[in-house]
């Protein structure tokens, strides 16, 4: 029987993988992709709670999270492109200066 616990554990696994990705990646693109994994994991637990509580609010929150994530990715990728133009690299630890 697949219960709420299975979905929550799966969501925890995905979230942990995303955390590891954010910590270990030095590539800016990979950091953004790992952030997407974190959002996906929280979306999964929202939908699972919505299903098992009988409340649609969780699914609506997931809808808004998807919207905000799209905005975040657009701005983040614009910053990455600017960073590449300026530094000719997208390695995170190349960013040592506060002022460009």
């Amino acid at each position: 029987m697949i219960g709420l616990g299975n979905y929550l554990i799966l969501s925890g696994i995905i979230f942990s993988i995303g955390v590891v990705g954010v910590i270990t990646s030095r590539n800016m693109l990979k950091v953004l992709l790992s952030l997407e994994l974190l959002l996906a994991a929280s979306n999964l637990s929202f939908v699972a709670f919505s299903r098992f509580n009988g409340d649609y609010t969780g699914q609506l929150i997931v809808f808004f999270v998807i919207l905000v994530a799209a905005v975040e990715v657009a701005v983040g990728l614009a910053i990455i492109v600017l960073m590449y133009r300026h530094f000719a690299t997208i390695q995170v630890d190349e960013l040592k200066d506060l002022k460009w």
């Binding site: 616990g5 994994l37 979306n43 609506l60 600017l82």
Partner: protein, 178 residues
């Protein structure tokens, strides 16, 4: 094993494998494509949870728009092999693995405690376009309209970022970057 359990474990395994590929693959192209696979598996899980609308939106917006945007950037940046492969330093990888395991252990314990309260049976709600739309346009009308403002602000931000870089003449540090 019931058919639901089979599908759950199948898509859960696909989701975990794809997420691992997102973090571990060296080529950014493979990272992005693995995230597409992960989003498809996640969407299948949503549909298994009878959240049809959110599942379809996830594929449309994420796999259709956001990740294609990622692919465009990966292609536009024209990363050579040295800039492309993210060299994970050993200590960072070890630190990441330790923190990841600890983090998952913490989440696992929290869920165990939470589930001791008693197993909930699945409810019979179905997240179709009709039900979600009804709530979206009554109770959540203001947040829904505000998201359009958010998108507008994001457009202004991106345009000003791109234009600022062009008008102030930020020269690429290496020839032939673009």
């Amino acid at each position: 094993m019931s058919i639901t359990a089979f599908f759950f474990y199948f898509f859960a395994a696909a989701l975990i494998l794809a997420s691992l590929a997102v973090v571990l693959a060296r080529n950014p192209l493979y990272n992005v494509l693995s995230l597409v696979a992960a989003i498809f598996a996640l969407s299948s899980l949503f549909i298994l949870l009878e959240a049809f609308f959110v599942g379809v939106i996830l594929i449309l917006v994420y796999a259709g728009a956001v990740l294609i945007f990622f692919l465009f950037v990966v292609m536009c940046l024209n990363l050579n092999s040295t800039a492309m492969t993210s060299i994970n330093q050993g200590r960072f990888r070890l630190l990441g693995a330790v923190i990841g395991v600890l983090f998952f252990g913490e989440i696992f314990l929290a869920i165990q405690v939470f589930l001791k309260a008693g197993a909930m049976p699945p409810s019979s709600i179905r997240g179709t376009i009709e039900t979600i739309g009804q709530i979206l346009f009554t109770d959540y009308l203001l947040p829904f309209e505000l998201t359009s403002l958010l998108l507008l602000i994001a457009i202004f931000g991106i345009v000003s970022l791109a234009k600022g870089a062009l008008s102030t003449g930020v020269a690429p540090t290496k020839a032939g970057d673009r």
